[in-house]
Symmetry: C2
Subunit: 221 residues, 2 copies
DNA sequence: ATAATTATGTGACATTGTCACTGTTATTTG
DNA sequence: CAAATAACAGTGACAATGTCACATAATTAT
């Protein structure tokens, strides 16, 4: 446990011995299955959540109920903190943001009280949080920028490249629907464009799977 | 000066006497004319900027040079801090964000060194900054949400209502172009929709001016 | 095997974005 | 002041994307 925390927590070197001990003593693990959804604000917030192993997608949706429009803001990978859990301990966002696990995921949870205490005493911890938030802030602005100013075909190509990197393979296991939720568009649009990509022999399509044939040409789009 | 700072700085009550003195001694004012543009990252960052009196618009643009697409992220009014100036002192965003003054604006500037020192010693100052950032973060997510999931007519109506509140009058002095830049759309689109609003007798149009005729019906859109 | 579920495909149409203009109203300048 | 210039607004044609209402195909459950 201690070794893992050492690796995962960026601010570990700046903690005092006492703080380290407290963290090792009080932090606990929780495991959730893939596809579990957290709605920020609804679920009670137990403390600061840090991804030990797994993957999560942070997104917003059109809350108008009927048609489930969504767009992905960013993802959390191993070692990332969920700044929403951080924010909910300090001051709440008044916006509905959700998290969906894309793999079985294990979190470390730093209990609320402990985290607040340490982040109030140790400036590096607070700095770290601030940087994380700034970083996600950048991501969201980037998404907005892309959504508004960039052609769908271009964004789809980027998404394919991103998922190729996430899965470390030219064979991507993903549905058109999932891509649409990533990009904030409709499934039909993704289908249309992928069809074009296939005609151009950039990809090969099958149910729930996209095989990248020409990564170089895809990158140039 | 001291009285103004007392009013403007939310964290004033939490400062020590020494800190207060230092702030009064080192903070200075700068005035800029309406329409001045700051590009975050380009202009050297002298310190934390706080709006004393005036109005600024924070926006992103499509940096592809030719066609000047823009969308407004949020506005700074009296007493607001420019979190971009804060961010640039701690860790830089790698995204191009700009600020345009919409009125002649006076800023207080807390010099970099002083601000860093105080925010490192005084947890309330850092907390305040964190809350400001979270707040703007919310705003940006809100803009994204609106852009993706909401019909243009609805958003235009909202924008008119917002500007009515900003100017405290049913007579809004604004061009179609400015509205388009707020909403992240094209001037022509704004013109089209305003035309419809006029036909529905919601507004009255003239050059550089929109008069709201039926605020209630506008709010219901 | 049959039914239910999930994924994909397609055409018609609505909304919004882009382009290439024209016309109109203010502002500057000779 | 009149003419030139710049800023603002209007318009039609067309492209890109979103929405809807389905059809079809592959997979999983009963």
């Amino acid at each position: 446990m201690k070794e893992t925390l050492e690796k995962i927590l960026n601010f570990w070197p700046y903690l005092s011995e006492v703080e380290k001990q407290e963290i090792v003593a009080q932090t606990f693990k929780v495991n959730y299955e893939s596809k579990k959804i957290f709605v920020h604000g609804k679920d009670e917030c137990k403390g600061l959540m840090i991804v030990n192993k797994g993957r999560a997608r942070i997104y917003i949706n059109s809350d108008n109920g009927s048609n489930g429009g969504e767009i992905t803001l960013y993802r959390l990978l191993d070692g990332d903190v969920c700044i929403l859990s951080a924010a909910c301990m300090m001051k709440s966002l008044d916006i509905s943001v959700s998290m969906e696990l894309e793999e079985d995921t294990e979190f470390f949870i730093l209990p609320k009280g402990l985290f607040l205490e340490i982040s109030n005493n140790n400036i590096m911890v607070k700095n770290y949080l601030l940087e994380e938030i700034s970083d996600k802030f950048s991501s969201v602005i980037w998404v907005l920028n892309q959504y508004i100013f960039t052609k769908m075909a271009h964004r789809l190509a980027s998404a394919l490249i991103e998922h190729r990197a996430l899965g470390e393979s030219d064979d991507i296991e993903i549905t058109h629907d999932t891509l649409a939720r990533d990009l904030g568009t409709a499934r039909e649009v993704v289908t249309r464009l992928l069809k074009q990509f296939q005609n151009d022999e950039l990809v090969e399509l099958s149910r729930g799977r996209i095989k990248i044939l020409d990564i170089n040409r895809l990158m140039r789009i």
